[in-house]
């Protein structure tokens, strides 16, 4: 994988393969490990990527140790600094850097890793129809699962934490209805009566589905409570990954409520908290 190369800017360490923790926020953020003593090191959840690497048996990563994964401070606004942008012009999490090749978007990163490291085929089955099912889920989940799950997190935890005010009950209800429908569709269409989305073995689809459904846990909202089927599937996925790795990846997420939000950069929160101002939306209008 090559030797470490120095990055630009002060105090940067760049490994040969840099991965970034999956953030609980869909906002574009930065990555890296600045040596800024004045800024607190906000611990972030490392989920999909770390799990993917261990599970996919990506060689050499465990020996790279913590240098391979860069916890970052996405909520503290470092993504505006020049140093960050030079290393990762996309300014997004998660990001992958393999030599000079930089890649964003977790779905793309997972496919890349599967191919490059010839991961066991159950992760992305070669059968035409089965693979199509994984692709279908990976496409659908952006708007049907990821977005609503993050909404729960913002509405139930982050917005009240940042603004000191609860979100109107009506909005919360509407959002929870949306989530309910999505999870119903997930069960009826993607899971059905199978052990995993593609059948008897875990695939990338289950991995992505589960980490997204875990997001609301940080706001004490457990989407698995209402459905035994979903809860059973969740356990199967956890066991398939390995409970140790699973909970290691979620350690920081579940501690999110302890975060000191005074370090938050308003740019990150803006679309969620001040959406109405920015978009000029009249909250009373019936057009969302």
């Amino acid at each position: 994988m090559g030797a470490a190369e120095p990055g630009v800017g002060t105090g940067w360490e760049v490994g040969a393969l840099i991965l970034v923790p999956l953030l609980p926020l869909p906002c574009p953020v930065t990555w890296g490990e600045p040596r800024c003593p004045s800024r607190p090191q906000f611990p972030l959840p490392e989920k999909t990527e770390r799990k993917a690497f261990r599970s996919l048996g990506v060689p050499g990563l465990s020996s790279l140790g913590s240098h391979s994964l860069r916890p970052s401070l996405p909520l503290s606004g470092h993504h505006h600094s020049k140093e960050y942008i030079e290393i990762n012009p996309v300014r997004k999490l998660p990001s992958l850097k393999d030599g000079k090749f930089i890649l964003s978007e977790s779905v793309a990163i997972l496919f890349y890793l599967c191919r490059k490291y010839s991961a066991p085929s159950h992760w992305y089955p070669p059968d035409l129809h089965t693979r199509a099912r994984v692709d279908e889920f990976m496409a659908w989940q952006h708007t049907a699962i990821q977005l609503p799950m993050n909404k729960i997190l913002w509405i139930k935890l982050l917005i009240p934490m940042i603004t000191g005010e609860e979100v109107p009950a009506e909005k919360t209800e509407q959002m929870l209805e949306e989530v309910k429908k999505s999870l119903q569709l997930f069960e009826e269409k993607f899971l059905q009566d199978r052990m995993f989305i593609t059948g008897d073995q875990i695939s990338l689809a289950d991995l992505v589905a589960l980490v997204e459904m875990m997001q609301p846990m940080a706001s004490n909202h457990n989407v698995f409570l209402n459905s035994a089927k979903l809860a059973d599937w969740r356990m199967r996925v956890e066991l398939s990954i390995g409970s140790g790795l699973f909970w290691e990846a979620h350690e920081r997420l579940v501690k999110l409520a302890e975060w000191d939000c005074s370090t938050l950069d308003p740019m990150v929160a803006r679309p969620w908290v001040w959406g109405t101002e920015r978009s000029g939306r009249d909250p009373e209008a019936n057009i969302p």
Partner: protein, 240 residues
């Protein structure tokens, strides 16, 4: 029964699938599903796609939704030229990266531009405030800048020197605001040049044929009250 594609060319993802299948000479039966008549909400169509959306593919007993998945399925099954979804690891990753990014960004903003500017007021008789419209168009503008700066950069096409699925998906999205009368290529010579390259690679006639419907969106006759009632919840959810 051979390959069936359930499409309405009013829809951006349907256009991408249509062009791709035609361009690559993939034989299929076109099953028209008229969105403005609410046909996607029918029980008959729910048998094909319980998610009640187009595009949908039916290949014997196998049904598939999500345009990205459909495009990848067709790519693999019909062994189309490599440039559409390159074997090269990094080139392929670039295509995957765009196809993942676009769902919540360009797709969303192009859809909102069309509905806020044209379809809500003209077809559904629901006025949209100037502030709302301005905000939507500003968001679209931001996304177009990202498309240029992060994806296109100085390349001929989004993922490299040749046209790929990424360009097809992107260009069909952009025709949504064009159909709404937005001058999105004005002041964007780089994007305009890219669009012309994509159209040339696809074939002008095929491109025109695929976009006949969207380019007439502004002439949509108003929906009758029953249809409007049927369509409203889905529309609002779609453009949220």
């Amino acid at each position: 029964m051979g390959l069936e594609l359930y499409l309405d060319l009013l829809s951006q993802p349907c256009r991408a699938v249509y062009i791709f299948a035609k361009k690559n000479g993939i034989p299929f039966e076109l099953r028209a599903v008229e969105l403005l008549k609410g046909q996607h909400l029918s029980d008959a169509f729910a048998q094909v796609n319980p998610l009640k959306k187009v595009p949908a593919l039916k290949d014997g007993d196998f049904t598939l939704t999500e345009s990205v998945a459909i495009l990848l399925y067709l790519t693999r099954k019909y062994e189309v030229p490599d440039h559409w979804y390159p074997q090269d690891l990094q080139a392929r990753a670039r295509v995957d990266e765009y196809l993942a990014w676009q769902h919540t960004t360009l797709r969303r903003n192009c859809l909102r531009a069309l509905w806020h500017k044209v379809m809500l007021p003209v077809f559904l008789g629901e006025p949209v405030s100037p502030q709302m419209l301005a905000a939507t168009l500003a968001e679209l503008d931001e996304t177009l800048q990202l498309l240029e700066d992060q994806f296109l950069q100085n390349k001929a096409f989004l993922a490299g020197p040749h046209i790929s699925l990424a360009d097809l998906v992107a260009v069909t999205e952009l025709m949504h605001p064009v159909g709404a009368g937005c001058q999105i290529f004005e002041g964007r010579p780089k994007l305009a040049a890219w669009q012309q390259r994509v159209v040339a690679a696809v074939g002008e006639e095929l491109f025109r044929e695929a976009h006949e419907v969207i380019l007439k969106a502004r002439d949509s006759p108003p929906a009758d009250p029953i249809i409007k009632q049927k369509l409203m919840p889905g529309v609002l959810a779609m453009i949220r």
